[in-house]
Symmetry: C2
Subunit: 123 residues, 2 copies
């Protein structure tokens, strides 16, 4: 599968709310996930656990996914970026929020090997 | 100046349409600019010339700048991302378009040393 095809499949599945399917099927076993504060999580299992913990403390109403966007790369490997707008409620406070973030994905051999989340403030 | 301050000044100036002021004052002499197709332009002068050529063939009606967004980095050095929505008309065809792109900036010693534009299709 090409970088382009991986990126478009990623956006299609996320747009359908299938974010956990994406992680299960498209993430490399040794994926590195980097949060806005620079904290890294290594490995598909720990990365999925991180998302599970996030879902436990936030009610997810929906998301808008813009992209994919490309900058160079080869036919098969490289990076793509996506712009997420998340509509959530913090379960602890009941506060409803819109969260914007840029996500940057690195693809090698049809798998996502690195994800970096760029945002401002607490997500 | 901190990475945070550089990024916020960048967004403030771009939001005022002062993109060329940004390039003149915030870009390192040896900045590398990477377009969506992977093509690199090296040096502040050539990068400004590239933008000048773009402005010559597009009528610029306005832009929305979302961000800055952060992912790690130190107090002074690191990266920030911005999401641009450009409202333009191609002078050659008269076609009015909305262009979306993610821009990723690398900051070292208070200057922007690298910019990468992620988009889909022709910009």
């Amino acid at each position: 599968m090409s970088l382009d095809a991986v990126a478009r499949k990623f956006v299609e599945l996320c747009s359908q709310g299938k974010n956990f399917d994406v992680m299960e099927t498209m993430y490399a076993p040794d994926i590195v996930s980097v949060e806005g504060n620079g904290e890294e999580t290594v490995g598909k299992g720990p990365v999925i656990d991180k998302s599970t913990r996030w879902v436990e403390v936030n009610t997810f109403h929906g998301e808008t996914v813009r992209g994919p966007f490309f900058c160079g790369g080869t036919e098969t490997d490289g990076q793509f970026a996506v712009y997420f707008t998340l509509d959530i409620t913090r379960k602890a406070t009941g506060q409803r929020l819109t969260l914007d973030e840029v996500a940057l994905y690195t693809v090698k051999n049809d798998k996502i090997t690195r994800e970096q989340f760029f945002y401002d403030g607490d997500h």
